[in-house]
């Protein structure tokens, strides 16, 4: 707790020195809150808006997180699929079989999963390694905008926008440079 006060104090001093630094300190606070969470379980509804398709495709399921780097996305509808990110390796399991993807081998997939994983972990260092960070709002209601740094990755993802409330993620929107986007809406899981 003392650390939070200290942070607040530092934030206040920083605020008084330079107004534009306010976002940065709030970000630290959100990150700090997120970092203390060890586990998380939420339900998601994912919508893909692809220009090639006439209407969005929708999927839903459950998202589980275990600190610091395990993220599991269980899609239940329309088709069962389990996606596990652990140690930089993405394992995709479907009825037809299992596929293992090393994220480092596919930098273009990385922002799709790493943006969520690193945000959940409150891992600002990882986020800043991949993205330019922009923070807006306050602890009670914030928006984090991530813009990929790598030009290769930029070709796959234009930006990731995460809306949150304290240590909860509410929405993750991933925009692709061709205008396609996906929107994942999250809410706490109904049952434990």
């Amino acid at each position: 707790m003392r650390a939070s006060y200290l942070k607040l104090l530092v934030a206040l001093i920083a605020l008084s020195l330079c107004a534009s630094a306010a976002g940065a300190s709030e970000l630290d606070e959100v990150m700090g809150l997120l970092a203390t969470r060890q586990h998380g379980r939420v339900e998601f509804v994912d919508q893909q808006f692809l220009h090639i398709l006439d209407h969005p495709i929708e999927s839903s399921g459950e998202l589980r997180y275990d600190a610091p780097d395990r993220l599991e996305k269980r899609t239940l509808k329309p088709h069962a699929e389990t996606l596990v990110l652990a140690g930089g390796v993405l394992t995709i399991e479907r009825a037809r079989g299992r596929r293992v993807v090393d994220l480092r081998a596919y930098p273009q997939i990385q922002p799709f999963v790493e943006s969520i994983r690193a945000t959940l972990a409150g891992d600002r260092t990882s986020l800043e390694r991949l993205f330019h960070l922009e923070f807006a709002g306050s602890l009670g209601r914030w928006t984090l905008t991530l813009v990929p740094l790598d030009s290769n990755v930029k070709r796959a993802v234009a930006q990731v926008r995460i809306d949150g409330m304290r240590d909860q993620l509410l929405k993750v929107e991933i925009r692709q440079p061709d205008g396609d986007r996906s929107l994942m809406t999250l809410r706490p899981a109904a049952s434990p």
Binding site: Q48, L50, I57, S59, T75, P78, L83, R96, V101, R104
Partner: protein
Amino acid sequence: MIWRRAWGPVLWLACIAIAAVVVARARYITDLSAFLPANPTPIQQLLVDQLRDGPASRLILFAIEGGDAAARARTSTLMLNRLRKDTQFSMVNNGATDAQQNDREFLFKHRYLLSESVTAERFSAAGLHAAISDTIDNLASPAGLLFKSLLPRDPTGELLNIIDQLSRSPSPKVQDGVWVSADGTRCLGLAQTTAGGSDSDAQGSAIDAIRAAFASAVGALPQVAAPASTRALQLKLSGPGVFAVAARAKIEKAVVRLSIAGGILVVTLLLGVYRSLPALGLGLLPVASGALVGIAAVALGFGAVHGVTLGFGVTLIGESVDYSIYFFIQSSRRHSDAGARSWQQLWWPTIRLGMLTSVCGFASLLPSGFPGLKQLGLYSVSGLIVAALVTRFVLPALLPAGFAIRDVTPLGDAIARCLLRFRRIGTAAVAALALGLMALSIAVLYQHRVSLWNRDLAALSPISIEEQNLDAKLRADLGAADVPDLVVVSGPDLESILRGAERTARALQPLVDAGVIGGFESPANYLPSLATQEARRSSLPDAAELRANLRQATLGLPIRIDRLLPFLEDAETTRHAPLVAARDLAGTSLNAGFEALILHQKDRWNAMLPLRGPASGKDIDLSRVAAALEAGAVHEALALNLKQQSDALYAGYLGQAIRFSLTGLLALTALLLIALRSPLRVARVLAPLLLAVLTVAAALALSGVQLTILHLVGLLLIVAVGSNYALFFDRQANSGDRSSEALTLASLVIANAGTVMGFGLLAFSQVPVLVALGATVAPGAVLALLFAAILATRTGTRAAASRA
């Protein structure tokens, strides 16, 4: 008179000159082919070809250990960039995906010919509907998004299907963009040489190139950041070529070292005995001539001389040096023409008989199926004959006037006094002791009869256990484990075996589903047969029909047909494009995978389908595989276990060698019967030899050594060398010439010392085949002399007693 004396040396000089030219021009090989069969069955031929020059033999596995993960990955990347430009390699791979760009282009271009799911139904309205909705579902996952841009051209997701098809074979773990071991502690890579695996020079240069690439990669790492992390980096290499080069180095080292050490020892021995430099020079003439002619004979007879044969050359020193020892010592009583002549009358017949018995023994190696043994046989037979002839016809002519060596009579007398003690033991006691020892040895051998012979081909391998373990580890990590079980499909051309492989795959699929096998690889996964490709191509409807089907298929899907026009174009292009041929694979990393499963022999093609063990970890039941092939009527396919095959092959050789050795023993007995004309004398000559052989074999068995084919050769050599000793004692006992006994004994003991030195050295080499030989012959020769002395003196004692 001059001419009678001179024809020997003149002929000898001419022979030596010719032999020297042959030896100088001979080809020397140092790979492991000496231990591969010469007259194989088709399956053996397959094994041998695969071992010798097959794609698997051209594979070099490398691992980078030590340092930290980032330094290892960076080194791996830098190494690969350099090796890719090297024309010595047909393929290098460390798992980096940029290398797979070519692969993806190739697979995408030919997707409708390569994908297993391409059937006529797939391009019906219903089939297209199912496939396209599946692909759209895929887009919801990040991995599926990779294929988003491909959707207009590949709405049925054939590229993903092909990638799934190919990834059925296990692939290594990837970390930091490169292959790593399961525990992540080393980076892995594969290089395939353009030269065959049996080309040790090319393999050596490829290995050097990999080492150089590693050194330069380590040097290029940013040293400032973490010098400690880069300094600890290590390169480990494995693979058939690496083994071959290591074996060659080992054999070469052993040959050089043994030759030098053997030479020094024998020279020291002879100098000590003769105390005369001319005598030393002359004494080495038979050995040198024998070795030279022996190598020349092998070069002429086999086209190439194997390194191991040269290693065995030391064994020849052991035996042929004896001849000059006998000559100098036994003819030294009168240093004159008369002395030499009396030697020729008194002793030469015995030496000649001894040489012929040795030749009988070695000649039994000639019909062996093992090229290494054949070479050893020819080398020894020709070398011994030449050494004996030089001793008989050249040495006497070259003896300078007033030639003298130290008198060894005192040495002989000392040995005789020693022997006298044995002679006090009664005949009955000696006979009982001999029979007891024989019975004991036979009992030990009987007790060890099951494990007496080592039937594992690996027993002959000069590769150390550590090296074999490293290889197994790297292979397991790379998913390139040496699978012992495979199905081989044979046919007259590539197309026929690819069709066979496809039919085999259909026959094996039920076994995969039932868990009898874990899975299998097939060259048809990389390149389907033309028939299959043709079937897929013709399953593509024409443009109008496909458009109609697609229009119907997209009803109810969130995609409109005008988005999928590129698909219609690509399908139409494929309908008129040529089928994929093997040469189209060139330039992709798929080529290595494909080639590794194809073996082309003169007019025979073989496709290999390695089987993976079931998930249960149990061994594959090959009889069920064979039954499945039978049920699927795939008659050109054969299920086999390579380890069993190669061990059976070796066991066959071992059995053959045992038979030939016994035949050699019979021939030797027949020779002795003709020469000695007395079964009793023959029995007396053979008894100490057999006793020595049995004792040595029993001692080896007792010390836990499993006998290999080389031990058998060693036992044969005990008989060959020991027969000389026994024959001298026989001559001694039957000539009644007591005065020469001291000289006989001295010459035998010195000759024996030479033999033991030569063979004893072999026991200290690093090459298992040489060790086996040395550890058998050195003690065997001592025992043969000892037993011959003890057993054969009975008559001598009686004669001495009657004179007394």
